[in-house]
Structures are given as C-alpha cells and as structure tokens.
C-alpha cells in the first residue's frame, strides 16, 4: 500500500527487465502533432467552410481526446473504482464547460 515500497519495488523490477523503448508514447506524440496540424490546416486552409468545417474540427478534437486517453492516460489498462469516477467526472466537467458555454453564448452578442 505504501508507495515508498512500491517505488522500491518498481526500482527492483526495472533493474531486472531492461526498460523497453516507449513506443506507445512516441506514437501518441506523433499522432497528437498530426491531429493538431490537421486541425490548424482546416482553420487556415480555407478549403472547408461552415458546418463541414466545424464537424471536421470536432471529429479531429474527439480523436485527439481518444489518443490522450488510450496512449497516455492508461485508460485501456483498467483500474480501480476511483479511476472510473475520476474519468466520469472529467467527462462531466468537459460536457458542462462545452455545452454550457455554447448555451450561455447564444444570446446574439455580435455587432451586426
């Protein structure tokens, strides 16, 4: 339970097994860069407009979230109850910020 012994444990383990090259993280990094680049291109490239542009960016954003969760946040490895609660809470807050912001901002602020 105490993480001091955990750390010592991992230490001993890593001394036995050579640490392998972090392929997962490198792939995740490259994918993140590609997805970000693609989103930027959509914004600046002027090839897409209106609803298509927004949908494409939204999809790219969701893919980005998946990359982060699967390749960096160990989502696929399962976990304790507290992990699941934290992830649910994360989704809840994300939903709140995005949805409520859209809701709040739809009052015709723009100078026409």
């Amino acid at each position: 339970m105490s993480s001091q012994s955990n750390t010592a444990h991992r230490h001993a383990a890593s001394a036995v097994h050579e640490p392998s090259f972090p392929w997962k993280q490198v792939i995740g990094y490259v994918l993140s860069l590609l997805l970000t680049g693609a989103t930027l291109w959509c914004g600046f490239g002027h090839g897409l407009h209106g609803g298509v542009l927004q949908t494409t960016m939204m999809v790219l954003g969701m893919l980005q979230v998946l990359v982060q969760l699967l390749l960096f946040m160990h989502l696929s490895e399962g976990g304790t109850t507290s992990h699941i609660w934290m992830i649910l809470l994360g989704f809840f807050f994300t939903f709140v910020v995005v949805a409520a912001s859209i809701w709040i901002m739809t009052f015709g602020y723009q100078v026409q």
């Binding site: 105490s2 001091q4 809470l89 709140v96 709040i104």
Partner: protein, 663 residues
C-alpha cells in the same frame, strides 16, 4: 545618451514619489539580504538546503514565507486604496494609479497570496496526515513552487519596471486588448499568471495522486482526515478549472502579441468568450481556495473541542457536492451581460444550491463543538470568527445569486463587501487558523498566544468596521472601482469608517509579524511533537519531523488514529525508540537544482515576452528545453537513508521527546 535616457524612463516607472520610495526600499532590502547572506556565509546553505530542496516540509515553508510577503504587499495596496477613498474628492492617488493598485491588489491576493498559503498548508499537512514520506512527485512539487515563485516575481516587478496592469484582476477585453492597454502591464499580468498557473495545475495533480496513492496501510478513504478530503476536492477543481484560465490568457496573449482576433469584435472575435472562460476558472477558484480552509476548520474544531468531528460522512459528501455543483455556477458573474432569462435562472439556482452542502458543514462544525470541551487557542479563535463572517457572506451571496436582484447589486460596493466577507472570513481566517495549528509541527515552536490575541481582536474589529459600511454604501449607489466621489452623496462617514477598519486590519497584520519575530526568539519550544493534544497522524512524530517523516510507516485502524493510540496506551511507546527490527533503509528523492532553473528559464522567457524582446523569449524557451533534457538523462535521482542514520536521527529526536515528557 538621450536614447538611453529615453529607454530608462520608459523602462522604469517614473514620476510618482510612492514608486520612488518603493525603488529605494527594494534596493535597500535586496542589498540587506545579499550582505547578510554573504556576511554569514549562508549562500551555499541557502542553495543546498532550500533552493534545491524537494522536501515537502521545506517547500511548505517557502510557500508560507512567500504568502506572508504577498499578504503584506496586497495589504499595502489595500491600505492605499482605502486611503484614497477615505474622504471625498481626494487626490492622494491619480485615477490610473488607483486602477493599477486595485488590479494588483486583487490579482496578488487571490493568485499570489491565497494560492501559495493554501499550497503551504497542503505541503505541510497532507503527507504527514496520511502517513507518507513525501508527496507522490517530489520533484514536480519543487517545479510547481519555482513556477509559482517566478510567476509571482514577474508580476511584482511590473510596478517598478514598465508599469502595472490596470485592467482589473479579471482583465476583460476589449479593455485589455493592445489598442486600449498598450503598455507592458497587461503582458506582465498574463505571463505572471500563466507561469504560476502551470505550477498550480501540477500541484493539483500531485496532491490528487498523493492522497489516492500514498496513504499508509489501513487508511481507507473513509478514514482519511477531513483536511485531506478537502485537499482532494480542491485538487480536483484545480485540475479541471485551471486549464480554462490558461487557455483564456494564452488566447489573450496571442491577441496582444501575434495579432490574432479571438476577442476583438470587429474582426469576428468575441470578448464575451473571454469573460466566459475566465469565470469557468474564476468561480471554481473560489472553491479551490475555500475548501482547504473548510478542511482546516474541521481539524481545528475537532482537536480543540476534543471530540471526533460530527457527521464525518456528510462532511465528505458535502465537500464532493460543492466540488461538482461549484462547477455549475460561473455564469452568475455575468448575469448583467445579456444572457437570456433561462441561462440566468439556471445559474441562479445552481449558485443557491451550493449553499446547501456549505450549510451542512456549518452545522456539523457547530454540533462538533456542542458539548465539547472547547479550548480557546488561536486556531480555534479564528475558526469561531469564521462562522459569523461566513454566515453574512453566505446570506449576501444568496442575495447576489438572485438574478433580478443582482441587476441592482452588480459592481456595487455591496458586492465588494460580500466577497471580502467570503474570502477573508472564509479563506484567510481558515489559513491563519491552519498556520497557527501546524506552525509548531513545521518549525518546532509555537506562535505566541498573547500577541496573537491582539492581532485577532484588532483584525476582527477592523474587518467588520471595514466591510460592514460597504454593504450600505453599495445600497446607496457607490460602485466599485471608483477612484473618487463627490462630497454630497452621503457616503463620507461610511467611507471614513471603512478606511479606519482597513487600517486596523493593517495594524493586526503588524501584530502577526511581531508575533512571528517574537516567537522565533522566545516562542514556546514544542518538544512533545503534539502540542495541541491532536488526533491525526502528523502529531505522532516529533516536530519538526525528520527528513523522512516516519521512521516506520504507521498502520492505521481508526479515523483519528493518533487519538486512538493515545487512548489505548499504544502512544506511550512513541517516546521509546521504534523497534529496531522494524527499521529499513528509506528510499528518498535527491535534491535537484533543475526545478529552480526551470523557474528561472520561465522567468527569463516571460520577461522577454513582456517587452516583446523575442530573442530573450527564445533564450528562456531553450533554457526550459535544456532543463527537461537534463532531467530526462539524469540517472542518479534517488538514494536510501541507511538504518544507522535513521537510528541516530531518531535517538536524537527522542531525547527531546523524553525530556518533554518529564517536564
């Protein structure tokens, strides 16, 4: 030569005697520090023991010192503001200088006083309360501190170099866009907060991991001390709220430096989005700072009533309820900005809902005191003082949360009085209580009670004297951020009273300063490690604790584990040496200079960006990358404290304890 002169007069703030006086003081204090350190040959000690430390207890002390200094600076700002408002038609400050001072007062008090004071308490208490040897990521903890420190330094430089921001602590565009705030002040604001904000986010992650992963064996979540629960809640909010601020400020910075138009209406941008994003962080920020204070109240009430806290589970549940509901309330900060009735209604109701779990906690504290044997020591006094102050803050908060009424109160002095009641009465009282409570644990001596009582009563009188009249002034139509007012409004007496109250709080602060100095010299030394007859694990070890905190990691059986041991007689063994067979070499992280250098690189890069000296920004950026690289390639990051050394340390510490027991 004239070119240089022009540059210098642009670079340094000139023309104000107050600023010249500050310049002189800054130079004198800096020289004093340098001369003293050199004379006492303490440079190496400072670097080895403090600037490169990864020990959570030392980081707590550094946060605490920074927070007290910033309380002084933010307090001095407040006194200047109140001096200007003491009488009508005053010309003590110019309008622009007044704007700069209220901007820095707000920013410093929230981000550079409350936050570090809170992190000081996190670092001081959490690992000790959960029976751990350090936080989950000690090296990251040091990085967090140095990012805070250098962000704070950058922000504080603004008033003598380049000029302070004057767009309010909320820094709304379009006022803060380049066209309306061309000077470097706004850049200082953005970069100072961006840099320290990164550190805060990392601290949130660090303490979440610490509390979830580092608990001593047997300490289930339902045995976690309430302060740790409050830190966990606060960390969750930090993790989800701070990115919004980072994004909002980064976009504003891009607008100002790269010519983007996120918040400029004429090019399709939308300043309201900044307001929205700012408060997505800004309102949860209130809970970030107040929840740990609630945690402190729970610990203090329980210890000084000599009872276990009433309704533990409902306390935990209400903390978590505030965490979630508190996230749904931010739009109440801009009820008057044009959103529809449905939006305003939703956020009015959600805001009022937060009052319910807060009320639950309040009653639990009262019931804990009920039939307890209350000891009126300093931490308990501040806790008791919190209750009426926060009741007023809560009642006026509900008034403000009612959207139609808010159209009357918004931006008035009523609002100013409300949030000072909440933030001073709720947060500062809690942190001061926490400071008094854990001070002997951190330093090994108590703060003097007599001077502390003077400070307490002066503060209380000053506090109600200062903010009480402002409620009335708000109803009488005085808005906030007015730098002066005509004599025939009927506001004169109330403003004068308010200013006198502010001065009293200033005097109280001086008493706290005197108390600290006096106690360093003559304070009661804590030789028992348990001066308050405490209940949780931090009181089971000597004070100040050894580097590794616990020679043997405790096994927990009860919520108030240390109290249980004292009742069952197990605690008496504490004075004895820990069983030798149970000692094992302790795995500890090594000190590192990289966190300091990371902070320094951010500072250099930030300073360059403030003045658009992009060469300097690049130098700072390269510095950051080099630090990351150096750390990645570092092999020798930890070591083991050998059993012999633990034995020696423990014997040395026990001598003090046995001595204390026989006195």
């Amino acid at each position: 030569m004239s070119g240089l002169n022009a540059f210098l007069s642009h670079f340094f703030v000139t023309g104000d005697p107050l600023i010249y006086a500050s310049d002189v003081l800054i130079v004198l204090v800096s020289l004093g520090i340098i001369v003293t350190l050199t004379y006492l040959k303490k440079w190496k000690w400072l670097w080895r023991e403090w600037l490169t430390t990864v020990d959570h207890k030392r980081i707590a002390i550094m946060y605490l010192i920074a927070a007290i200094l910033m309380l002084f600076r933010g307090g001095a700002d407040a006194e200047l503001l109140r001096t200007q408002l003491a009488v009508p038609n005053n010309s003590f400050l110019t309008a622009e200088h007044y704007d700069q001072i209220f901007t820095t007062h707000g920013t410093i008090m929230i981000l550079f006083m409350a936050m570090p004071m809170m992190f000081a308490l996190f670092n001081a208490a959490v690992p000790l309360q959960i029976g751990a040897r350090d936080v989950a990521f000690p090296y990251l903890n040091a990085i967090s501190f140095w990012l805070f420190f250098f962000g704070c330094l950058l922000f504080n430089l603004s008033f003598v170099i380049g000029g302070s921001p004057d767009g309010g602590w909320t820094s709304y565009p379009p006022l803060t866009e380049l066209g309306f705030s061309p000077g470097p002040g706004e850049n200082y604001y953005i970069l100072g907060i961006l840099i320290s904000g990164l550190g805060s986010t990392a601290t949130g992650i660090n303490f979440m991991a610490t509390i979830l992963k580092m608990r001593a064996p047997g300490m289930t979540l339902m045995k976690l001390p309430l302060f740790c629960w409050s830190v966990l809640s606060s960390s969750i909010i930090i993790l989800f709220a701070f990115p919004a601020l980072t994004v909002a400020l980064a976009l504003l910075l891009l607008d100002r430096t790269m010519g983007t138009d996120f918040f400029t209406i004429l090019h399709g941008g939308n300043p309201m989005q900044f307001v929205n994003l700012f408060w997505v962080w800004g309102h949860p920020e209130v809970y970030i700072v107040v929840l740990p204070a609630f945690g402190v109240y729970s610990e203090v009430v329980s210890t000084f009533s000599r009872k276990t806290v009433f309704g533990y589970k409902s306390m935990v549940f209400s903390l978590l309820a505030i965490t979630v509901i508190g996230y749904l309330t931010w739009a109440h900060h801009f009820f008057t900005m044009g959103a529809g009735a449905s939006v305003n209604t939703f956020f009015a109701i959600s805001t009022m809902c937060v009052g319910i779990p807060t009320g639950v906690k309040m009653f639990n504290w009262l019931f804990t005191m009920f039939r307890g044997r209350i000891q009126f020591k300093l931490p308990m006094l501040w806790t008791l003082a919190f209750i009426p102050a926060f009741a007023i803050a809560g009642a006026t908060g509900i008034m403000l949360a009612a959207a139609p009424a808010d159209y009357q109160f918004h931006n008035s002095q009523f609002l100013v009085a409300h949030f000072h009641m909440a933030l001073i009465g709720g947060v500062v009282f809690g942190y001061v209580a926490g400071m008094y409570y854990w001070w002997p644990k951190l330093f090994g001596f108590s703060l003097d009670e007599r001077l502390g009582r003077w400070a307490f009563w002066l503060w209380q009188i000053g506090f109600y004297g200062c903010f009480g009249p402002q409620f009335a002034l708000g109803f009488m139509g005085m808005t906030r951020r007015m730098y002066t007012y005509p004599a025939n409004m009927g506001w004169n007496t109330l403003n004068l009273v308010s200013t006198c109250g502010a001065y009293l709080m200033g005097v109280a602060f001086l008493f706290i300063g005197a108390q600290i100095v006096y106690s360093i010299l003559k304070g009661k030394r804590d030789v028992t490690g348990d001066p308050w007859d405490g209940r949780t694990l931090e009181w089971s070890i000597p004070s100040p604790p050894p580097l590794y905190n616990f020679a043997v990691i405790p096994t927990v059986q009860a919520r108030d584990e240390w109290w249980r041991r004292k009742q069952s007689g197990e605690a008496a063994q504490r004075a004895a040496f820990p069983a030798e067979a149970s000692l094992q070499p302790i795995h500890m992280p090594r000190n590192s200079s990289i966190p300091f250098l990371v902070g320094l690189s951010f500072f250099v890069g930030g300073f360059g960006t403030v003045f658009h000296w992009y060469g300097m920004s690049i130098v700072g950026g390269v510095g950051i990358l080099l630090c990351l690289l150096a750390r990645s390639l570092q092999e020798n990051v930890d070591y083991y404290v050998p059993v012999d050394e633990i034995k020696r340390t423990e014997i040395h510490l026990r001598e003090g304890v046995t001595h204390g027991l026989h006195v």
